[in-house]
Every structure is written in structure tokens, then in C-alpha cells.
């Protein structure tokens, strides 16, 4: 059994970080949230612009995502900032968060009256929360408490050949320790959905995967894009990718080879250990936001061409097997797996390095995205705002 050093919360979950989070419940109060959090240690805000004008199921998704960030195990205390007339009141989100035992406060601009006063009150509240949070220390915690999000973006030939399979080795190792792994980005599995469904523990899970792919495929076709016909692209084929299955498997492999234990929708929380499938878009930041809202305390993000993306409350480990990308974009990249593509390291050995890095980052090692203050946030929705 292996451990990481984490922050134990009252609800039994464990965090890899210990933030105070300022959540604007609507876009109108985003600026206030930003100014409350500005230059305060271990304090972040969510650059959220939704919370009013959403229709259909979008309101529920926005609420679930904001609340999911609020009661996330990486968060010690939450301040929700509302405007006062929005469709998703600050109080409603705060109630959802505080029900988990997380310390939650609310400030509403239209109640306080002035923006300056709201910011001043907000900063006082956050400083008090910081003082409480500072007394919490990291303790050894079983790896089974981890929920690892997996993502790929800016992919090139090294992604499917090297970095994703190596991360897959680490994912399998984590599943052996009892952790949960989230695989997502449904449009990327078009073409391999039957293979993924074949790994589902139950027929119900298998059918949900197939239904999710059918939904996304229909949406893409509605928007004029036939993903199945357009892939692999001429560039992919010239680079050696023969079929759509091969391309999709190259993406899926980052989550390892174990059976799929559960199917969850966007921003839902896994209720099972092992590999869990979350239905998200392939849009990098919406996918990342969904997995973190679902409780992922740490994320691995493979890339071929490079990307700076990070999350406000979860460390995102950036991994590339493209030597040139690592060399020129070293300020954004955490791990270099290019020895695999040079034939000087096996996937197993690289996977073990990834596993060790996950434990180190979960225990407090800073990622490049954190050093650069990359706090990317975007909530998936299916309808336009009105």
C-alpha cells in the first residue's frame, strides 16, 4: 500500500491542496470575486461568467459545477459572491456546499450596497478563513483516496505512441492501489466506443457509453462536422495512424487497461473506485472543469505540441514525449517522456516515473501551471444564454 501526504477534511475526503475559494455565483460578480482574492496567499477565485440566463438543463449543470468546486477536498473554506438578482442565487450554491461541512460564507452586492465595501468585507472573511486553514497540516493518506483526472490536448504522434500509454501504466498502478481514475472527452472516443463499451463492468454502463457517443456524434453532424468520416485526417495517415479506432485508442490509453466501473455525467462524483467514465466535451478546459468539479484532486494532462492549461484548485501535471516541445516550453511542462520515442526508455519505466510524480505533486510539489498561475475554468453547457 502506498501513501501521499494530504489534507484530511471533516467529510472524510482528502485534499492535495488547501485553498480558500471565492466563487462568483454569476458573471456580474466575477470582478468582485477577483479583487477579493487578489494577492492573498492560497486564495483563488473562479473566473465564472454563468449563473444567469441559462436555459434547460444548463442551470443545473452550472449549479452542480460551482458547488462541486466549493465542496472539493482541495478547498478549506468558500466565499460565494452574488449580485442579488441572478437566476442562480448565491445562497442556493452556498447551501449545497455547506451541507458537506465546508465553511461557507455569502456576500451579495445588492445587499451590501457598495462594491468597495463588498470587497473589503470579502477580504476580511477570506483572511479569517486563511488563518483557520493554516493550522491544518498534511498527513499520510492512502492513495485510494485519490481521484485522478486524465486529459490529452494539443496531441501529436508522440501522444498515442508514448505519453498516453505511459500515463496508462500509472493509471493501472493507481487502480491497483484502490484509487479512482476519470476518463472523459467523449468526442475523442468516436470510433472506439464499441471497444470501450466492451470493457464496461455492466451492460448498463456499456449502453450509456454508446448512447453518449451517439449524442455527441449527432450534435457534431448538426453543426456540420462528421467526425467519423473526417478521421483519421490526411495528416494522421501520413504520420502512420491507419484507422479511427487506432487514433481513439491512442487517446483512451491514458486511463489504463482496467474495466470501466461506472458511467457519470458532467461534474458528477465517482461513487466507485477504479476506472470511471465521465461524459464531457473534448474542449480542454470544459473537460478539465468537469473532472475537477467531480472531485479530481489532481490531473495528468498529456500533450504533444504543448499547452499551458491549469486549474484554479487542482494541480495539473503537464506531460509530453515530444523532446522539442519539452525543450522550448519547459516553463509549462512538468515531465519529459521523450526517451520513449527515442527508444531509450520502456513504457513501463516511464509509467513508474509518472506514478511517482503523481504522488509527489499530490503531496505538495508545485506544478508549472501552478507556478504560472494558470487558473482555467469553463463550464460545459448545451444551450445558448438568453
Amino acid at each position: 500500500m502506498k501513501y501521499f501526504d494530504g489534507y484530511r477534511r471533516a467529510d472524510g475526503k482528502t485534499g492535495t491542496r488547501n485553498y480558500i475559494l471565492v466563487i462568483p455565483s454569476v458573471g456580474c460578480s466575477q470582478g468582485i470575486a477577483r479583487q477579493i482574492a487578489r494577492n492573498l496567499r492560497n486564495t483563488v477565485y473562479l473566473p465564472n461568467i454563468l449563473g444567469c440566463g441559462q436555459i434547460g438543463s444548463d442551470r443545473a449543470i452550472v449549479k452542480k459545477t460551482l458547488a462541486g468546486f466549493g465542496w472539493h477536498p482541495n478547498v478549506s473554506g468558500v466565499l460565494v459572491i452574488g449580485n442579488g438578482c441572478e437566476q442562480l442565487p448565491a445562497d442556493e450554491i452556498a447551501r449545497e456546499i455547506s451541507a458537506t461541512g465546508r465553511r461557507t460564507e455569502v456576500l451579495v452586492l445588492q445587499d451590501v450596497g457598495s462594491m468597495r465595501k463588498t470587497i473589503s468585507l470579502g477580504r476580511k472573511i477570506v483572511k479569517d478563513m486563511l488563518s483557520n486553514a493554516s493550522s491544518l497540516k498534511r498527513e499520510p493518506v492512502l492513495l485510494s483516496k485519490l481521484v485522478l483526472g486524465t486529459e490529452c490536448g494539443g496531441s501529436d504522434y508522440t501522444s498515442g505512441l508514448a505519453s498516453n500509454p505511459a500515463v496508462g501504466v500509472a493509471s493501472d498502478m493507481l487502480v491497483k492501489e484502490g484509487a479512482s481514475i476519470i476518463l472523459s472527452e467523449t468526442p475523442e472516443i468516436i470510433g472506439a466506443e464499441h471497444l470501450l463499451a466492451g470493457r464496461a463492468q455492466t451492460k448498463v454502463i456499456a449502453q450509456k457509453i454508446l448512447d453518449a457517443v451517439a449524442w455527441w456524434e449527432a450534435k457534431a453532424v448538426e453543426g456540420g462536422q462528421d467526425i467519423r468520416d473526417a478521421n483519421p485526417s490526411p495528416g494522421n495517415i501520413a504520420g502512420g495512424i491507419t484507422t479511427l479506432e487506432e487514433k481513439s485508442l491512442g487517446c483512451i490509453h491514458k486511463a489504463g487497461t482496467t474495466p470501466i466501473e461506472e458511467f457519470i455525467t458532467y461534474a458528477d462524483h465517482p461513487s466507485r473506485k477504479g476506472l470511471v467514465y465521465m461524459d464531457t466535451p473534448a474542449h480542454d478546459i470544459e473537460q478539465l472543469t468537469g473532472m475537477v468539479a467531480g472531485g479530481a484532486q489532481i490531473v495528468v494532462f498529456t500533450t504533444g505540441r504543448g499547452t499551458p492549461v491549469g486549474s484554479p484548485i487542482a494541480p495539473v501535471i503537464k506531460i509530453t514525449a515530444n523532446k522539442n516541445t519539452y525543450s522550448v516550453m519547459r516553463d509549462c511542462m512538468d515531465m519529459d517522456l521523450s526517451k520513449i520515442t527515442e527508444g531509450r526508455e520502456t513504457l513501463q519505466a516511464a509509467g513508474r516515473r509518472v506514478f511517482d510524480e503523481i504522488i509527489a505533486v499530490a503531496s505538495g510539489k508545485m506544478t508549472k501551471a501552478e507556478r504560472l498561475n494558470q487558473q482555467d475554468f469553463c463550464i460545459f453547457k448545451t444551450n445558448m444564454n438568453i
Binding site: A162, E193, V213, E217, R228, T242, G343, R344
Partner: protein, 97 residues
């Protein structure tokens, strides 16, 4: 690793390897299959990123990479031959629609 590998086998169930650099016809390529060293003689040039067969693949059989079928062969493919769009096809699983 003592010796640089020039091709990679991703999963022990795979019947193809992927070239890590441009490889030329006639060359003996060392690959690790199920933990064991094997040598495969290339029957054609294999560009970097492209696949070659580790075993004989009968016509109509699955081409396996990542431990899963990525398509099936349209002709008999010999060990060491280039495996790509000229001898592999897939239905792209249109039954999902």
C-alpha cells in the same frame, strides 16, 4: 536501457510494432514481445510512426494495437511487412449510429 530500441510494442497482445524512426527494408529490428527479445526482419521500408507486423496476419484477421483490434487485414500480411491503409480496413463501427 542498454540498447536503443527503434520500434515500440505498446501492449503484449499486439501483433504490430510502431517504428520510432525511419527504418529500412532488410534491417533486423529488435522488439520486446511479452517481455522477450525478438528480432523481426523488415520486408519493406517503414517510415517513422508507421507499423510493421510482428507475426503473420491472415487475411481478414484483426490487427491488434493497444491490446485491441484497430482494424482487420484485407490481405495476408507477412511478418516484417508494412501495416497501413493499403492492407488494413475498419468499418469505423457505423453500427453505433
Amino acid at each position: 536501457m542498454k540498447q536503443k530500441m527503434t520500434a515500440i510494442v505498446i501492449n503484449e497482445k499486439d501483433n504490430v510494432a510502431t517504428a520510432l524512426e525511419d527504418l529500412h527494408e532488410g534491417r533486423e529490428i529488435r522488439v520486446i514481445v511479452c517481455g522477450k527479445d525478438e528480432c523481426v526482419r523488415l520486408l519493406t521500408d517503414i517510415p517513422s510512426g508507421h507499423k510493421f507486423a510482428l507475426f503473420e496476419i491472415e487475411q481478414g484477421s484483426n490487427v491488434i494495437k493497444y491490446g485491441e483490434p484497430i482494424g482487420h487485414s484485407t490481405v495476408h500480411i507477412k511478418r516484417g511487412q508494412h501495416v497501413h491503409t493499403h492492407n488494413v480496413t475498419s468499418p469505423k463501427n457505423r453500427s453505433a449510429r
